[in-house]
Symmetry: C2
């Protein structure tokens, strides 16, 4: 992964000609940013850990696995949101004081116990792909913070072929997991945009959702068990795919984003590698017709593996990227369906009937295959846009089918007005990529020509969008998670008593608040100084 | 509901002739129990609430809705397990000090705040159908305990037809819910054995699973939102069918069995009333073949609405009940499939192919239709057996497909050996009625001729079975819940840190431990007397 951008430097893309042609039409003239700082020229503060603390960490993981170089620290200084990438251009940057790489559950547990004893903050780090500020090197009330890099916890630890269950190390990346499973003829089938770099533990901690969610479910539906290390104890959860043995504690850790403990192993439902794959693309007169088609598919069990609907704005840009500029000027929404696994023909027939009844027209396999070929390229395009001076960011939400149109309209209006007030022209694209019987997600890609202070402008506009999302009955995040960026809005979503529950769990498991301070919930004020353990190092 | 047995007294059944013929063959001579005490002859302690406390309760719910009669108290003295029914025969019984009937969420909240202020224990009560001791009138550390009867919280509070979501009052029974929804053309489709009396709130608090779970999922998959009242605050949860806004707090309350708060309203996924229903019954050479068939159906998306497999012992008794004694002496396992909703023919064809490949033979629609007609009669038969001196009880668990045979064998061996050691012959039947891609449930019905002290014998044998279940990798309960009966085994299932999480949530929401004391988790020892609020009344 590039230290200050997405992915493999060899795969960095220039903007396609058609996009470069479209941009001035959409956004007006934009200003190229100043060149980014080179890695070896960036200034970071010296590590704030004492020699004794470093020795204690080395005693747990081995000397080779405690890194203090500026490069290692900067590679663990945050995630991959656009604000993260803009921060990575600065000449002086915040970074964790060290990077620590435990080998397995036992070493993770020992690291957490050590950090708890000495008051060192810990940021669990998997693929480094968070786009909501879940990886910021925040110390909280402590004197130092380390990045706990989990990539050595990689591997297929168990496979129960009859039951279709696999146990994977939390540091296993998406492609590593699929390769390990494929060697036995199995697949997990979880393909978010971050797939190439993100980890199994990250998917669990952030409750992600992948492109094949229509077929296999979002990640939290794939999880049947967890192993977790916390600063004050450990857990192994999940004996059965269905249980009434009290509240499901696996769900306490799914979405906990590193604030309660570190997920070290994940037990997952897997399925045989599909032998066949069928594509079909669709066009709709407009987004509303397409959404109605997707609703019927969700409620009548159409059964596609992938189904995604792009609005008119996104359809136009996708066509432009493919060089079909003429078609891009036509109106209409578009959808992609993919079928894998059992009963492909029946599912395709059923889904097609439902989409046709919603005014959908099949446009054959080609566009859908194109989508599949380029489906992990989005973040590279975002980087190319940033280099060209175009601000590009994404945000996402979800709600019920009946609230979906008003939610979409509220987000788009707030973006347009907010960016406009900052003097920026904008272009907003929207798609639905996750459907449920009762509702669906909305994913927005925003392009804007923000001339001055893009970080400050975006922070203000995003805050207005978050308010609008909650007011319209949407969730603050469908699959990007809460992190630090969305934490101020969580109280509105789950209420004061909901926040109290999260704090109570954290107080119990992490009483010194060393884990990911500031993520999900704001640090608790020291209300009872006589009884609270000291938060000084 | 009968005060000391199941259901409608007018529907009480005598044992079918075939069963009465079989019983001596299976169990030897059994001793008829002493006649049960008449309701008006049972002695209960006088209510332990003060006049001032009673007035305070009446001020919240109205005088008519605070009941002190012995009859009302005895009707709320427990659930409907066999030990419960045996306790209801005794001449002196424990009962709550009063029955309180709030009208709505606001009155529930006020009752809890009142009970919290005055130190009165509260047992939330829906349909009274718990079979795991979740309704015992336990006072915990307090001087009095009231039964909080939620049946007035009944009704369809909202219906979003486009999204397929309904909001129901927690006190709505199964049949009430279906009637209210059917008036709009919708169905919930949750049919556990307790359906006729149990409530929506009870299904949520206990994480139940119904006979149509293959089609519509267990109850916790139907829930999209909750409204909850606690002694220290309230919550409204669930904005979207999918979300990454932190851990899913709905899952904290599903399965909380009244220990964290009282669920007052439930938002649920509903579907159009199915227009058609198709039955098909199957026979298999043995249970193992049938289980293999069910596994394939679960993993290859066969799609039945109902699928259940009875082992050889249960098949024989079912046939005997239908008067087919000759067939009952034949060997073999049997299954029932039912299809409702969309795409019935394709689903039936797919499922049938999968079952045939596992050595299943179709036996037509008749036996499956018979099952449907009698599917809520089991508890009446249990009462008739008890009257005849036959001990009859059920227990259930679940695990992965690969562990299923050994789990079944461990349970049956432990039952046989344990009851045999007490001098009782036994007959154990087993079925699978809930399937998942990675595993399935096991439901055991036990008939035994226990001559002396049936409660004591069963408690000992059940404890041995619980140990065996956990040792074999099963969950302590798939859908009956934890209650008080299974609470001693929960620490083995979720571990010490898991118990700490539950305690931490309870301390935050219910610091005086008034809610359902002793259910799910044992009462916490007062470890820090200086800081804990007084538990004296």
């Amino acid at each position: 992964m590039r230290w200050n951008g997405w992915g493999d430097p060899a795969k960095a893309k220039d903007l396609p000609l058609a996009v470069r042609t479209l941009l001035p039409l959409l956004l007006g003239r934009v200003r190229r940013p100043a060149p980014a700082a080179e890695l070896d020229a960036v200034r970071v503060a010296p590590p704030a850990l004492t020699a004794e603390e470093l020795d204690a960490l080395r005693a747990v993981v081995g000397e080779a696995h405690v890194e203090l170089s500026a490069e290692a620290r900067l590679r663990h200084a945050g995630g991959r949101s656009t604000p993260d990438l803009l921060r990575r251009r600065a000449p002086e940057q915040l970074a964790p004081d060290a990077v620590v790489r435990p080998a397995d559950h036992g070493e993770v547990l020992a690291c957490l116990e050590l950090a708890h004893a000495r008051g060192i903050a810990v940021i669990p780090f998997g693929g480094g792909t968070s786009v909501v500020g879940a990886l910021d090197p925040e110390r909280g009330a402590h004197h130092a913070v380390v990045s706990l890099d989990l990539r050595r916890l990689t591997g297929l630890l168990a496979l129960d072929e009859l039951s279709g269950e696999a146990v994977l190390g939390a540091g296993t990346t998406g492609p590593e997991a699929e390769a390990l499973l494929a060697a036995h003829g199995f697949e997990l089938g979880h393909y978010p945009q971050s797939f190439r770099y993100a980890t199994i533990g990250g998917f669990a901690a952030a409750r992600s959702s992948g492109q094949n969610s229509a077929g296999y479910g979002r990640f939290d539906t794939m999880v049947t068990g967890l192993r977790v290390a916390t600063p004050t104890g450990e857990l192994e959860l999940g004996r059965s795919p269905g249980s009434a043995a009290g509240p499901d504690l696996v769900r306490v850790f799914l979405g906990s984003e590193g604030i309660f403990g570190v997920i070290t192993e994940v037990r997952l439902r897997v399925h045989p590698v599909p032998r066949e794959r069928v594509f079909e693309a669709w066009t709709f007169p407009d987004f509303a017709a397409g959404a109605e088609g997707l609703r019927r598919v969700a409620q009548h069990g159409g059964g596609p593996t992938v189904i995604r609907l792009s609005d008119e704005a996104e359809t136009a840009v996708s066509l432009a990227q493919l060089g079909k500029l003429g078609k891009a000027l036509a109106k209409g929404a578009s959808a992609v369906t993919v079928y894998e696994g059992d009963g492909i023909e029946e599912r395709r027939a059923r889904t097609s009937e439902l989409l046709r009844a919603a005014a959908g027209t099949s446009s054959g396999a080609g566009a859908a295959a194109d989508w599949l070929a380029g489906r992990f390229d989005g973040p590279y395009l975002r980087d190319a846009l940033l280099d060209a001076g175009v601000f590009c960011e994404t945000l996402e939400t979800a709600t019920t089918w009946s609230k979906l149109p008003a939610l979409r309209e509220a987000v788009e209006r707030t973006l347009r007005d907010g960016l406009g007030a900052a003097g920026a022209k904008s272009y907003v694209m929207c798609h639905v990529s996750h459907i449920y019987p009762t509702g669906a997600s909305l994913y927005f890609t925003v392009l804007a020509g923000i001339r001055e202070e893009p970080l400050g402008v975006w922070e203000r506009v995003k805050a207005e969008v978050n308010d609008a999302i909650l007011a319209a009955g949407g969730t603050i995040s469908h699959h990007h998670a809460v992190g630090r960026d969305h934490a101020p809005w969580l109280p509105s979503e789950i209420g004061e008593t909901g926040i109290r529950i999260l704090r109570a769990i954290k107080r119990e498991l992490d009483p010194r608040a060393i884990l990911n301070p500031g993520a999900v919930i704001a640090a608790e004020p020291a209300a009872h100084p006589a009884s609270a353990p000291s938060r000084e190092g």
